[in-house]
Symmetry: C2
Subunit: 139 residues, 2 copies
């Protein structure tokens, strides 16, 4: 295992629309991608590009969205997770399982169209961590 690119920082928000205006007008973001729904994860997603990494804005989608709990504790939104890239998702999963880290659910298609899984924050220094396979057409 070799530490990969920090693909994105997941930032929860009660309103992607308001956050997009914030990143555009306050932070000066020049590339903001089209928002889309990711029903399997219970989130609406919008990527904001910085020159070297992305901010992934996530808003609750549906009543069962895991983001509702986060926003109940942090009504204005806040940092939700970090996502690192790996070359092979199955190898990465086997690595973390062998180390006794709790993998949250089966690997599934993530917001970039490649396989991802999440790791329990209590096993990761308090950081909810997403591991994603590097998109083959990038970098």
């Amino acid at each position: 295992m070799k530490l990969g690119r920090l693909n994105h920082v997941g930032v929860a928000t009660p309103s992607i629309e308001a956050s997009v205006a914030f990143y555009r007008d306050m932070m000066g973001a020049e590339v903001i991608r089209e928002p889309f729904d990711l029903p399997a994860q219970g989130v609406k997603v919008c990527f904001v590009d910085t020159p070297n990494a992305q901010i992934e804005l996530i808003e609750p989608l549906g009543d069962a969205s895991p983001i509702h709990t986060f926003l109940a504790r942090n009504p204005g939104g806040g940092q939700h997770h970090l996502c690192y890239e790996v070359p092979d998702i199955d190898e990465a999963r086997a690595w973390f399982e062998a180390k006794g880290v709790r993998v949250l659910g089966a690997p599934r298609i993530g917001a970039h169209g490649t396989m991802i899984f999440f790791l329990h924050p209590k096993d990761m220094g308090g950081v909810l961590t997403e591991i994603m396979e590097t998109p083959r057409n990038q970098h």
Copy 2:
């Protein structure tokens, strides 16, 4: 204002020593810088390099460290702040002040040796945000 590089993600930890072992042995970090004290901020700091950004591990330094409050709420540590680069720290400060964002304290020397300031998370979508002037010898 133009959104700059995500220089680092600040991650609070009760023990930089334990976190360094975690990033080296669990996450496969290959470049971990030498830890150092930043008494003006009340933190001990250690940078972990990913291919495109850094993780800034921060541990409380002294009884008045602001990190004690964070660790009281998150005993295992967790995501603390995001840091973006700007070309001119004074321009950036004027920009945010003109927008009514609360600047936390005067600009001061940060962990990379250039001027930094912090912005109130309640004005920044719940994200404690550090703004730092890009080091002149980098990028």
